[in-house]
Amino acid sequence: MDTLTSPTLFCLALACFATGALGALLLGKKDTAANVVGSVLAIAGAAIALIFSGAVLLEGTTQSFAADTSFPLISLSFSVDRLAAFFVLVISAVALLTSIYALGYVRHYYGKYSIGVLGCFYNIFIASMILVVTAHNALFFLIVWEIMSLASYFLVIYERREAASIRAGSLYFIMTHAGTAFIITAFLLMFREAGSFDFDAIHTGLATASPMTQSAIFVTALIGFGAKAGIIPLHIWLPSAHPAAPSHVSALMSGVMIKTGIFMLIRITLGLLPEVHLWWGLTVLVVGAVSSLLGVLYALSEHDLKRLLAYHSIENIGIILLGLGSALVFSSAGMNTLAALGLAAALFHTMNHATFKALLFLGAGSVIGATHTRNIEKYGGLIRLMPQTALFFLIGSMAISALPPLNGFFSEWLTFQSLFQGVTGFDVVTKLIFILSIGALAFTGGLAAACFVKAFGITFLARPRSNAASQAKETSPLLRLAMAAFALLIVGLGLFSGMVTRVLGEVAGDMAGLESAATPGSTPAGSAQFTTVSLLNGFAEISMPAVFAGIVTAFAAAALVFFLLTRQRTQAVAATWDCGTDLTPRMEITATGFSRSIITVMQGLMRPGSETEIEYHDANRYFPKTGTVNMGLNDIYRSFIYRPLQVITTTIAGYMRKLQSGNIHAYILYIFLTLIGLLAWLNFQS
């Protein structure tokens, strides 16, 4: 165990990524070699990190190690406590599988773009994410944080001949940089109190900070890390950036990168700041509720498969924040047990979302690879052509829709239970916010299911709607292997949720300020066994294996009974009933049509718009030839927040550039006025 938790192993993992990055870059134009080196070393690094973090997580002792740099205030100090180990575990697990996927998936870039560059940034990206969650010095953290942004930026614009990728990349880079500005402000505020960038010193230094400062740190951190996590209204980069990246990178970005923002929010609110204020928790709850509800609504209106998935990331970040927000509220009231419960819910959902979102992105990658389009309306019937991909995608869809017995259901159940506790015992405002959060989570679950009926149904079921879809082929074995592994993880995490809850309970207990669990198997808020999870003295109990077994048994029994009853009956295969006309794929429901009713109901929130174009046969416009209706959403964030900001900036810039009028006399006048002005100021002062 000691060797497994030693810094050496950690450094070995980093070395693997470094070698992978360099190796891929140096191999440059030799596509296959670069891909193999880049992906295999990423696999190796991720596997080592997985072992290391798993060992730390199970052993529970914090591993700290540091190296000095030649720069003042910066030290390469790492601290892997259980929380960090948990995130490393999630990151490396997802990275491991996406790297396997990459090994096969990257092939279609051969000869088009440099594989070496992809491998290089891919490895840097994974390594930087691991560093982000283990760094223990604010400046060091900022450096790796920005490297993470940088690497992901280059991965987003990897397909650099696509103008859309470049645009998405720029938006992403600017948004994440803006977020970093807020993060820097947060750390500078901490430095003011602590005089150091070391996390331990900050923790000590903040103990005496004024409530004002603490709240300022919280707000800046929420905005800064929220921008990375994709909370609404800071999410605008997410739906364009994630789709632009290669799919295995999208899986990493959506699955784990945005979670680093969550990690730091937990670290700062529950780790660095001395106490939690009630309104912080409520703010996080509101942000979470809004993000989850709006995220899923936007997803519903999407018909670009990857954008749809990206919007679901926003939704799931919202759900995670609901857990975290409840934890913060409980923590502010000193209810550490409940806080641990909320945090455990957030962590569990973090992990679950990583698995199913990664799976869905990989599935989307396979579908896009087979059909060469991201437009859902062009798919259809793929389940017959790509049966395995369809199965994996279905499992992912069911998990993300929180359907039992998969893992997504369990973490939402935990989140629900945590939120339930806030309805009682607080003042009326808090109570109402909790109730509405529960409502938001409930609606989110329903809407997510609706959205994935659409995503899965339109993509894989019925008849192909385009030539490309009817000629699709099942993807290569490596791709399916990675997806199968994710699908297994999803089922496994659902089935073994009791045991996972126990571990996460300990992680959350650490952060919520609980003593280590006294008896093995007991979580802070109850007990968690393989068979049952029981919370809050029996307030709620559940057994995921039983749910699983129940469904399977009932299914088997029903199938058996009905098979026996109807043995003699025949089955004929015939065309779908066509109401007397020839059915064409155009008669099937479209993705837009599928979700239009919900969008229409929510029009106050969503601002849908539609453009109609009709082409006529004749000049008098009596006989229409073709008609197209384009239904979409007006982007209210752009039109009400970002566009005005842009306009203001450009207007000021317009004034500024008039300073540089080209007239030398004006220039001399500036100097003259500055001189006179300063002299006058001196005069005024004395």
Binding site: R657, Q660, G662
Partner: protein
Amino acid sequence: MAHFNSQTLLVFATIIFAASVFLHLTKKNTSAIRLYIVQSAAIAALLLASVEEFSPLLIVAIAATVAVKIFIAPYFFVNLTRRLDLKFSASTYMNTPMTLLVIAGLLALTQSDFFAPLSSLGRPGDRLLQLAFGTILISFLLSINRKGALSQILGILSLENGIVAFALFAGLEQSPGFQLGITFNILIWVVIATVFASMIFRKFGTLDVTRMRKLKD
């Protein structure tokens, strides 16, 4: 200022100051150059007057200054105006009354209490430093107000004269070596500025520097 009494000094200071004011008023290039010569001559006289004991290097330095300011620089300018056939350089941003008004304002500023620390550098009671400082500001104004390249050059040189006058009145003699260095600098500057002025005329067909407005954002 061993050799002049305060009355004489005031006369020279006034000449220097007045020259800078008249530079604003004159329309003719030749008279502007002449005004500069007059101003430089006054400076030269002050320089001579400030010398307490002569050394060979000092003589060379003063001679160089006189040569550059009274002879070489004007020669270049006169040559320039002849060659380019430029008689007038009248165009300004502010009209004459307005210019005078601004000059009066600047003058009031230099006379205010605020410049007490500056004027305290000189002998108590006299107004020499104020006049010198006024010259500086008014020359500065010249290069803002006048559109012609030559006027700008003269404005800068007059500004330099003002600074020298200020230094002399405040009793800040420089070692002759530095003096020479500065003079050499000015000489080169005058040469370059003149060359540029003629090149500008060749490219733009005028010395009106407001025509050069291509470089902007």
